[in-house]
């Protein structure tokens, strides 16, 4: 047996929230449900570390260490456009990695995965 990891602790809190949700009504019940969803996001983020996929995608586009801010700066001044080779692929890779954490059931995630080579 190991001491509980951060993910295990969060899952325990999420289980507690869903237990007490049945005793709550109205706004409190709704917020308990939202809070449970938020904890699920945090667990997925710890497991999947989407920032790695995002950094790799931006690095392929602009070089090592590139950030979202670098990409935005170049989109705003016109150095990058929708026609720039690799731009859409990089943004799709970064966004699908984060969407798999933020809302894996979102229809557009499935549609993007079905249509992206």
């Amino acid at each position: 047996m190991a001491v509980p990891s951060a993910s295990v602790l969060i899952e325990a809190v999420a289980a507690f929230l869903s237990e007490i949700e049945t005793e709550l009504t109205g706004r409190a019940a709704f917020h308990a449900k939202v809070a449970g969803n938020v904890l699920a996001v945090v667990v997925r983020e710890l497991d999947q570390q989407p920032e790695r996929a995002e950094a790799a995608a931006f690095a392929r586009l602009l070089g090592p260490g590139a950030t979202a801010a670098d990409v935005c700066e170049r989109l705003r001044d016109g150095r990058l456009t929708v026609a720039t080779p690799g731009l859409l692929d990089a943004l799709l890779a970064a966004t699908t990695a984060r969407l798999a954490v933020d809302n894996p059931r979102y229809s557009t995630l499935r549609r993007l995965r079905d249509t992206t080579p």
Partner: protein
Amino acid sequence: MIDTAALAALLSRTRGEPVAVDSVTALSGGASSATYAVAARVGGSDWPLIFQGAAAALEPGQLSKATQAELQRIAARHGLPVAAVVAVTAPGDGLGDGFVMARIAGEALAPRWLKGAAFAGARAALTTHCATALARLHAVPLGEFARLPLAGGTPREQCARLNAAYRSYCVDLPAFDLAFGWVAERLGDHAPTALVHGDFRSGNLIIDEHGLAAVLDWELAHLGDPAEDLGWLCVNAWRFGQWQLPVGGFGERDALYDAYAAAGGAPVDRGMAQVWEVYGTLRWGMACLQLVHDHLSGRVRSVERAAIGRRITEVEADLLYLLTHGSI
């Protein structure tokens, strides 16, 4: 809370006979307005009403409730299904800026009427009903709105204002910047030709078993390009999971455009309709940014507002899908 005696006095004055107000129940509260169900009685009969009041002082560019009431009256005169305006508050009434309207029977919660079997017939008729309502609204001569303080500007100016709002949050979302550039290149520089409802979507309709019973929430109305309303209705966020049906989660684009033209609306340019859908998706993204900013700035701290910050990823995905596939 609403002063029921003040409300009864306003209603009695309007009717010219005594009106009793038995109860006032808060229904929902947004950042800018608060809605109440009013149980009134007149001459021994129940009179179900809605009171909508301003929740806070007007911000620049925001429509007063009195202006919204006037818009609803104009819309009703032109054959749109809207709740009849019963009374508008005056400064001495002690009710703030607000108005009273008829309470329309039906379902306002989109997830219920989008999925409920009882609404299957309503859903089948709804694309035509929405197209007809929008065509009638967009045909109202602009002169009818001349004395109302409505925002306007060309589509490109509107987009520039939205972009300025985005930049004011100091966030770096590449899909947003990419989409803003794409939209700005394609939107025109023409003067407004119509009143745009500005928030015509599944969450702002009352649906009964026959279809569209009332168009709600006129607070984002402005002068502009009618295609904006058609695009907004097709934004993925308003489909409440019924994503295969692009028109609000209940209909197909071709049927919407055909019914719109059949009801007297201008023929829809498919390419421009898509541009307005991308613009609408950015607008929804801006609403998410505003809501999460409420939490981060401490204006309204809540787990719900914080969680909306992660819905921004959905908007980025929708934008990328739109830009790579043309439509979503």
